[in-house]
Symmetry: D2
Subunit: 337 residues, 4 copies
């Protein structure tokens, strides 16, 4: 971290600031130019609050040099993290497809979809039991009953299950869920992240609609700082000025996250596009950009889906897509196993 | 709601859709033009899921005509809502200033600030006990102890207290808090909103960093749908491409919300700007645009604040600001009482 | 400017970089910390291309300390610039209202509107002759004939005229125009800016839909670098994710520009809102935030306007607004003369 | 287009509006529901100004059903447009790579780069002669001399040349340029677009930093409406809140534009990323998403480049990339010829 001091800063106040920083275990290197006087901070600056320093009257600017996250940082963990979920590996060359309906609606529905996506080659089953809906008047999910139906679908197919958690009080209900999803709207629900840090559950952490990649990594850091390093990152489209699609898929997030972190990266083209016809080309782009997996919405009857019908593939469409996904993953040198 | 059907839509499928909609208690009016065939939906369309309909293969587009919120909608409640908090009124011509530190740090700090802001004319005391911080390594607030200190400050000054709730499990701790704040990052924490809907607490609901005004109103609707109509809306800056300030204050939100809803509207210039020197002009703009209140960060020692120091006013700066606020509120025809 | 070198950077390459920078007349101050090695650049860094330096393999990061603009920079010109247009002053406590139709449509229309806005107290007349329209099928303005009608309106009322220039080839036609407007879509039409720098015309420079304030000031710098320092800046709403209004008025731009530059700042609430009913509260906010002027669309018959009817005030609405504007400008300590 | 009338709209005013619309050659279909009364407009609505209608006091909302562009619209031209440039085809299964330096700097530089990119398989040479730079103090390009050097490079290699036009007055200088580029900052320089519509030059039209896809197509329509249908669209990254990269590549623009228009679509990963190491994965994503071409910056010495060094590949890096590009284009079923 570099602190640029104001011209003619009060010497006594500068010394107070230096003492204050030293008290945090940091070494301070001063540098005096003609126009600017700098303080270079050496040590673990993740605990230094930039805003605090910016509030100091002798300070002109503060610039971070190191990323504010450690456990998620590739600098300190150069090798790709490979996460194993009920025998399926993701990361480090291993590619997984997570598929299933937006919402679990009935036993027949979830089992039918689970069987179909398994037959097409999906490695994990998704399905929402607790649903974050913009409107209080929309279907809110089957909640605990939905989790029960997911367990039945897992039993019927052997597919591990991925489902969203919205509240710390529900954690006990998720005891045997294979992957706990934290949704985009809860990416900065820090109380939830902290609690998940105290579990050993694999967490699929979705990027918020307007959160930077650094903020996404800081949210991963919340979970990891608690002791749980099983975090999968998911880009699902960001909010921009463009109105012709639901969200803008930030495909550059794949190479950028790859550089910044060792954690696996999944793309959700269904939410990014909001329209089923766009899922195929975004899936191809995701694989080509280097993603470790895809998360795709599949519904046996999109027209009567209780949520997100417009972006769901039918099982037949998903089957056709998977044929292309398999060939493309292989072309780009990854394995689906 | 208007549904525009595709050209050459299958007649049988159209009839199925019509029956499906009628089953929800809606009346359907068909209109056949040369190029387009429309279905007009009459009745309570808040329960119709647009995405569902968009997934139907006979549907080209769906357009909402009515807002998807009811209880927050000015159309159905033309008069301004006036909320009373321990004798202070806000809304309908009544203006309030909420002031205090970002975080409660110690008994001495919160009582000193409380006394100062009261002396300058603030109507309510703010202070964070549970703090949502981007980094897990930053100060996370004094939590339950912070609430206790706020109670002491209230006792010492008589000012009602406003403080942020981050988790449903903490609701019992907030029993005697006067105004419960829902922060920007939790604006779409729907589980939290639902639970607050079952209390009678006044809720100060902050707009999320990239949430539309309609989404803000839908989040208010979550609380109101549960039976709690004591909601104050707060605009605190949105996230845009501009980098010279922390956030972009959406001043137009004031007249737009005024038109759409009957709820009181508060502006938080401190978070919008992120820099204390900008607070005055944004406060003036907020009053001029028609806001019902301001929420301002004040700290007795911004340089050593444990959070948000850069945007906090000193008590002396706040006192100077309040002199202008009072005159300006009066000039624009509102009262502070 | 500070250059942060990579760890283990090749010494010979670092020396080459230092020599390259010295050749531009800069002094270089080295600073060696434990983790980081910095180069501080002292001198006129406006001519240093950050991207160039970032491309150097020994460079980790480059951070600017000084703003990249000089002539527009308040640091070097502490006093407010006051611009005088046919006897009307703007800036430094002088407030002006520019009003008129989006497009000049006919002699009768422009003269009627000009007389009305003058009677209500406007200081300048606006009116578009060359119109930048999103669609090639929309009305493109009366072009040279429109300029002629503006001259007639000026003659009839004495109001100086403000009108948009879209192409360097049209500059001769604008010979006797009082204020040349550069529209949002041409804010980075650098060829146009350069040519205007060689004239002595007062330029009203509108901020682009998604341009930062620094970019706006760099565009002003283009004009000023050519020798023409008569630049008025205009904030007219930026493009964000919010869809309930045409643009988001960036009210914080007023205090931020005030701090960064000495140039006058005008707000255009009509384009920001896109809806006439919102113009009044945004105008009040603009005055309260410290703007030096307003630019407001007024049309004698908004419903039949050839462009931007939805955001135009009628002369009667404008007259009512001006009564409030005058009182508010006075309240905030500026003069309209 | 559908007009939703206000409740209790004045009948006489409604009839005036209907007559006004009929006078434009439109048929009007009325539809009366219980809550809403609609007017459906049938005919060529590209000439109807939505804002105009919205300004009418009897109108509640106006909704477009058809796209406001015709010549660029796939509905009216179902087959892909294939453009041929000096024997190279682009579109309809034909893929092209345009490569070269950001700026033409010297004869030696442009010829060296041209030879290198040709040897690696590029089909066209790019190079900036007129440069749009944010700062007036940055290198502005060699201008007419740069065009001359491009001609020499074309003669030396046979590669057709692509270069940016910034001003209508320069059109004569571009007489024998193969592809005229309109840069992002000039995407809505409508005077420039109109003039290009009167030439027969192939135009590479870059999307503006915050322009919607509809606006991009409307700008293409400007050129096409003038009689020049040789337009290639280029996505080069949009401006969002994300700060870790220069721009956000909108990869979804590829399938969306593919659906909306018949024109060829090129991706510029260099400007999208702003960093050379990211170009490869974005190029792969672009091909996978279905783009018809790539535009890539290559410089023989990025560290001393006069512009955009940080995002330029060296010839060796470009050669390695092209080996992957060729295999990937083939894998996705397109040809480079």
């Amino acid at each position: 971290m570099i602190i640029i001091l104001k011209k003619n800063a009060n010497e006594q106040k500068v010394n107070q600031l230096i003492e204050q920083l030293k008290a945090k275990g940091l070494e301070i290197h001063e540098s005096q130019g003609v126009q600017t006087r700098l303080l270079g901070l050496v040590g673990d600056t993740t605990q230094v609050d930039i805003e605090n320093i910016q509030a100091n009257e002798v300070v002109d600017q503060v610039r971070r040099i190191q990323e504010p996250y450690k456990k998620a940082n590739r600098t300190f963990h150069p090798a790709d993290t490979v996460i194993e979920i009920a025998g399926r590996k993701i990361g480090g060359g291993h590619f997984q497809v997570i598929a299933g309906p937006c919402s679990v609606e009935s036993e027949a529905q979830i089992i039918e979809v689970a069987r179909a996506v398994k037959a097409s080659g999906a490695g994990l089953l998704r399905g929402g039991a607790f649903k974050p809906r913009t409107s209080p008047y929309s279907f809110q999910g089957l909640r605990a009953d939905g989790l029960e139906l997911l367990r039945k679908a897992r039993k019927a197919t052997g597919l591990p299950i991925v489902t969203e958690l919205m509240n710390t009080t529900h954690i006990p209900l998720f005891e045997d869920v294979d992957v706990v999803q934290v949704g985009a709207r809860n990416m900065q629900n820090f109380e939830l992240l902290k609690e998940l840090g105290h579990t050993k559950k694999t967490v699929l952490l979705k990027r918020g609609l307007s959160n930077t990649l650094e903020e996404l990594l800081m949210s991963a850091e919340y979970i990891m700082a608690g002791g749980n390093e099983n975090v999968i990152l998911c880009e699902r489209g960001i909010r921009t000025f463009e109105t012709s699609m639901r969200n803008t898929l930030d495909i550059s997030a794949v190479p950028m996250l790859r550089r910044l972190t060792h954690l696996p990266i999944v793309i959700d083209p269904s939410h990014a596009a909001g329209m089923s016809w766009m899922v195929e080309s975004l899936s191809m782009a995701a694989i080509a950009a280097g993603a470790d997996g895809l998360m795709i919405e599949v519904h046996n009857s999109p027209e009567t889906a209780l949520s997100d019908g417009a972006q769901s593939l039918t099982p037949a469409q998903f089957d056709a897509l998977m044929k292309k996904v398999k060939k493309t993953v292989e072309f780009f040198g990854k394995t689906m196993d």
